[in-house]
Symmetry: D2
Subunit: 300 residues, 4 copies
């Protein structure tokens, strides 16, 4: 399989390595040329330009920071630059795994469709560790045939591959999930902290809630109170894991979507604001479970 | 085993039936005399007064609506009435299974201790269905020996019996769990609704979140969107289950505890306020997952 | 006029001094005997007991920390102590100026009424400075005749005297006002901070909002941003003024009232939670406008 | 004075009429040609295209629905359309009075500056009534000389003209003010409703708060409870006034700005969510003080 991969950051690089391991031919490009060069010894073909990178590729994958980058790469920029959609050959299959606003994903999909190109949005969860282990979860938005094509590629870099719906729905489903996650983490910090303020042992309380109606992902796999789970970031100085700044970014995408659709999301926006306060105290790069410390101030 | 049981409402009655089934001798009392009489044919001894009810009992269990009732029954009231603590014989073991404020539970425990009586608070979760099936969860606060004694009795009416800590901690742990539950339910309604407003299928979104970091008790066992889970109240006109007014009551106990301990609980108080709005629209007696409708107004 | 005054703290002491200045005969009592003795040289009669204090008084005023103290002083305590209501002579007029829960105020009023005594709740606003200057605002709950009697006394210690309604309504109206104040202060901190984060000058923004629809008491008289108003606590290291812990207490009374009446108060509870976070960082004794710093973390 | 005016909706039309009344020559354009034609009899010159409209104008004013329209009109659109900036003659002064996101305003200002054109953002408050009466408030962002030029024009259509700061700051200051307003209105509805739930008379409570620390613009000029102020929308079936959908829009701009600057705005986002719930019940076109009804459900 012949793949062009654009965007070689913390997530993109290990994904490329797994594609190479699976026997794919991978051509890579990044505006940070060092990031591209570093993959040479692993067997990637290092392209000198985006145009060269996508030439002859059956599939193009992108992994970029935000919606504006995805729009610029696929559609071209305001300065008259040409986008990917006009560079690739007929029949090329396009996968964007960036986490971005659904509107941008839908815009790119629509433009691709106009040019008779298949495009899916396929944001991931699982973080850098998941990318390295090849156990990422992909949430795919696109047509049925697009989803099938995506599965063939993504099986080499991930474990669970969901079909959320039509174009943009991959992004939207990830946004909903991460909104839920922000609520779960805030709520878990809060319930444990309320218990501790009233004399409960957080380990005992966690055990009780795990077997009761308070059970949730954060409590099961990611207890935010230090010393309860050995392998959780909380027990390792809140080393990420999933950084607080990424949680704030994802909750921000939730706000943006809700503003568009005029949906009420009081719980999600409150969680977002707790992270805004917390991050402003210098916690952007720490694991998102460090919100627990926002509830546990030293003077208490 | 010789048990006196006071408080024969929706929860108390099926608990008495299970104790009788297990071969216990049960003497019952309620200010609603009809509720007591109705248990006669099931083999309970119907006492004419609280004093008569507890006479000769090894264990006294109470199941009452709120802290004020528990204080009145155990300590006596303002009009000079005598409480249980001064009626029971030396060595009687006392279990209160009401859901009340921890301060009241601690006050009763302290007064009991002064009179050398063992008392535990043991609030339940599992609702009327759990009471009937004998599968209730009990969260016990009290000494180690108190907990052991409680287990011997409670095994006949429940399945999981947790020891949360010292006196009052059973109530406190239940409050924390139900605060978490209120957050889970509100958050789940919100995430599903945001997805639907943006074109996602709630069944597909639920499936994705269940296998991702948005997983939680409400999503697993109690999906609030009609038509996704056959047996959930959402698919049965939101017949309870667990009534919205009880969720509001429990979140109110959370507020009260947080006010005492000066703890911040923004997520829990927000969930509480959503229920206050929702219940005021006439939903007090419907299942608490009907909050989903608060997010899905007809004009949308 | 012959007045007995019980409760001689930061607020009670200056109120007594103003009553003496106005020519009233004042008999004082406090369980802190030093506080009472200190008023001797100002002309107060220092009573050795509550009973001695109220003997022969036409009016009894109380200024106590919380509802439990008011109940104990007027109604007697659990240990069989006798309350004020049974000590005073027929026809004595009773004023409680403490800030407490309306339920306690109503209970005392009801018991007073049973004994044919007139009682009003008359909480104050204006703080220690207002008490010293004799410019306090009183919000009175009670009958029309009670209100008239109250005015005659309170005119010596305050400037504005409002009749909020029946017994307990003085407390309730103060609670509503201070809930609003907590919302105004939080909102003003937030609007100024959002502007500053986006490059606006807080002085210019304040001027614009003062002449627009954002105008409010906090912005007019109590700007929370340092350097904008010379005399505001914000420009004087947030020296109180009105302490953050008192704002948290008053918002807590709001929560309690809303829990009783099952009212939704999302804005007020959110403000309460912001103060709970802020106070936990060691700001309890600072002016309540210091919440501005909660929005302006050093790392920004 | 020779003015070109683009955007002739509810606000634009009365502004044009006031400019004409003040003796200005006004050339008008709108894609809704009927709206333009209707101004012919009032003395406006009706242009057939944007290009014709701005030809020979000393000042161009625009009044458009949202940021995307402003960008399209000034900068041209994606389909290669040319924008205003490239149509106007050297030395033309540009004023945009739309309420839009500050980023769009800054982008247009920057592009204008590149072409050596003076541009200010000057959003208004005061609504349709203010536009008709010529008493609008303008909040201007731009250079000192830009502000002076703006004053000369805007004095004919408004009363208060503020200089908020540099380009985009007019929009930002309006956003902060309206965030504050959303908080004031929500808080006032809430405080009055809490009082009513507890037996207070809303008129009496309003009077007390107006003279206390709860005083704010909504309470002074716009009491949301029917029957208290004769001229307020609340006493006239909540006829706008200022529509709920516009409040939701403005609070949405606040969210967007806060997302950009990573600022916490919990109070403002909560108010926004209350409006999202309220509007979804069919209240978009009613006055924004109708939020009071969200707090006063019939079943109470």
């Amino acid at each position: 399989m012949n793949i062009a991969f654009i965007g070689l950051g913390n997530m993109g690089r290990p994904m490329v390595l797994n594609l190479l391991k699976a026997g794919c031919q991978v051509s890579v490009f990044d505006i940070n040329t060092a990031a591209a060069e570093a993959l040479k010894e692993d067997g990637a073909f290092v392209a000198g330009s985006m145009e060269e990178c996508v030439k002859g590729a059956q599939t193009v994958m992108t992994m970029l920071p935000a919606g504006e980058h995805v729009r610029a790469v696929y559609l071209g920029d305001h300065q008259g630059g040409v986008g990917l959609l006009k560079m690739v050959e007929a029949g090329t299959f396009l996968i964007d795994s960036s986490t971005i606003d659904p509107a941008s994903a839908r815009l790119v999909a629509q433009q691709a469709h106009t040019l008779e190109l298949e495009f899916v949005d396929a944001p991931v969860s699982g973080g850098v560790a998941g990318a390295q282990a090849g156990t990422l979860t992909f949430i795919v938005g696109g047509t049925d045939s697009g989803f099938k094509q995506a599965e063939e590629v993504l099986q080499h870099v991930g474990k669970n591959i969901f079909h959320a719906g039509k174009a943009g729905d991959g992004q939207m489903a990830k946004i909903c999930n991460n909104l839920m996650l922000g609520i779960l983490m805030s709520g878990t910090c809060e319930a444990l902290s309320l218990g501790m303020d009233n004399g409960l042992d957080p380990k005992v309380l966690s055990d009780i809630m795990l077997q009761s109606s308070g059970r949730n992902w954060a409590l099961e796999l990611y207890n935010p109170c230090p010393g309860i789970m050995d392998k959780a970031p909380a027990s390792n100085h809140y080393q990420p894991g999933f950084m607080s700044k990424l949680m704030l970014k994802d909750l921000g995408l939730g706000l943006e979507a809700a503003t568009e659709s005029q949906s009420p999301i009081p719980m999600g926006t409150l969680a977002r604001n707790l992270y805004a306060f917390h991050n402003a105290e210098g916690n952007e790069l720490r694991d998102f479970s460090s919100l627990f410390e926002f509830y546990r101030k030293p003077s208490k």
